[in-house]
Symmetry: C2
Subunit: 142 residues, 2 copies
DNA sequence: TTACATAGTTGTATTATACAATTATTTATA
DNA sequence: TATAAATAATTGTATAATACAACTATGTAA
């Protein structure tokens, strides 16, 4: 029945979040945690962005992003570029070392996922990626 | 290529954890948060368990579980049953109100997942549940 | 019987987060 | 155009979930 499928998804999702959280709280490769990673990911994909935009994209409060940004700035991973059009705002720009460490962290994550799915078929990996993306989109929109 | 599939999984997983965390930090149905939910889930599936076993199952520190248990006890969701074999330990037993609120919370979660996947095929839901489970198992074992 | 191990608790610290108040600036309105 | 409302970012404060370390009481092994 549909309901038992949902029950499985529901439970495994709770477990997943619990486990992944517990992994990422330990596995700090270099100086990056998951939050910082997602922020840098945004910058690496979209180029320089302001705190507001990042907060929207990451579904976080601006105060949270502001602190994350400050922390990344202190580590030399990003720097602030004034927005000459709107002088309240500025853009967070990835530094070279930020880019480097981001890539290193990403590589380490990929290696981890590679191991975790090394006995999966390509079809399964494909499906999993597809469904995760679909699910994330649903969360965002519904 | 295999690598781009992994990149998708890797990214969507980071996003998923971020989004789900942000949902569950707001959506406190009744008195339950995700941690408490998983603890009660353990009890509801396995029957009365001690702090140590719960901590192992949930991959948490015993101190963390101890506090969660204390908090659930204060809310009247569980109570402690002394273990007469090992007098250092006891079992956490679900109360009636604990069971009730657990079920209510679970129902609310299921409804949420129902909405999130209402335009999915049964096949997709099935696959998603299956792959999540497989992935969780991999995290635990690898 | 003494030493080591274990179940649980409590003290302390860290991290990620939100909300509220504040400052500086921009946009809209009267 | 002058003033009011909105907005970008920061900072103060609070909370929640977590870990590690120290401790107590009890159990197990040498």
């Amino acid at each position: 029945m549909k309901n038992s499928i949902l029950e499985r998804i529901e439970l495994e999702m709770a477990v997943l979040v619990r486990r992944v959280t517990s992994i990422t709280s330990k596995n700090k490769i270099g100086n990056l945690d998951r939050s910082a990673y997602l922020l840098l990911h945004q910058l690496s994909v979209h180029g320089p962005l302001g705190v507001k935009t990042l907060a929207d994209n990451l579904q976080l409060d601006t105060s949270t992003v502001s602190r994350q940004a400050a922390s990344l700035e202190k580590k030399g991973y990003v720097y602030k570029v004034p927005d000459h059009v709107d002088r309240r705002a500025y853009f967070l720009q990835l530094t070279e070392s930020g880019t480097e460490d981001f890539n290193e962290y990403k590589k380490a994550r990929l290696d981890r996922f590679e191991v975790l799915t090394d006995d999966w078929t390509d079809e399964e990996r494909q499906q999993f990626g597809h469904l995760l993306k679909k699910f994330n989109k649903a969360i965002l929109e519904k």
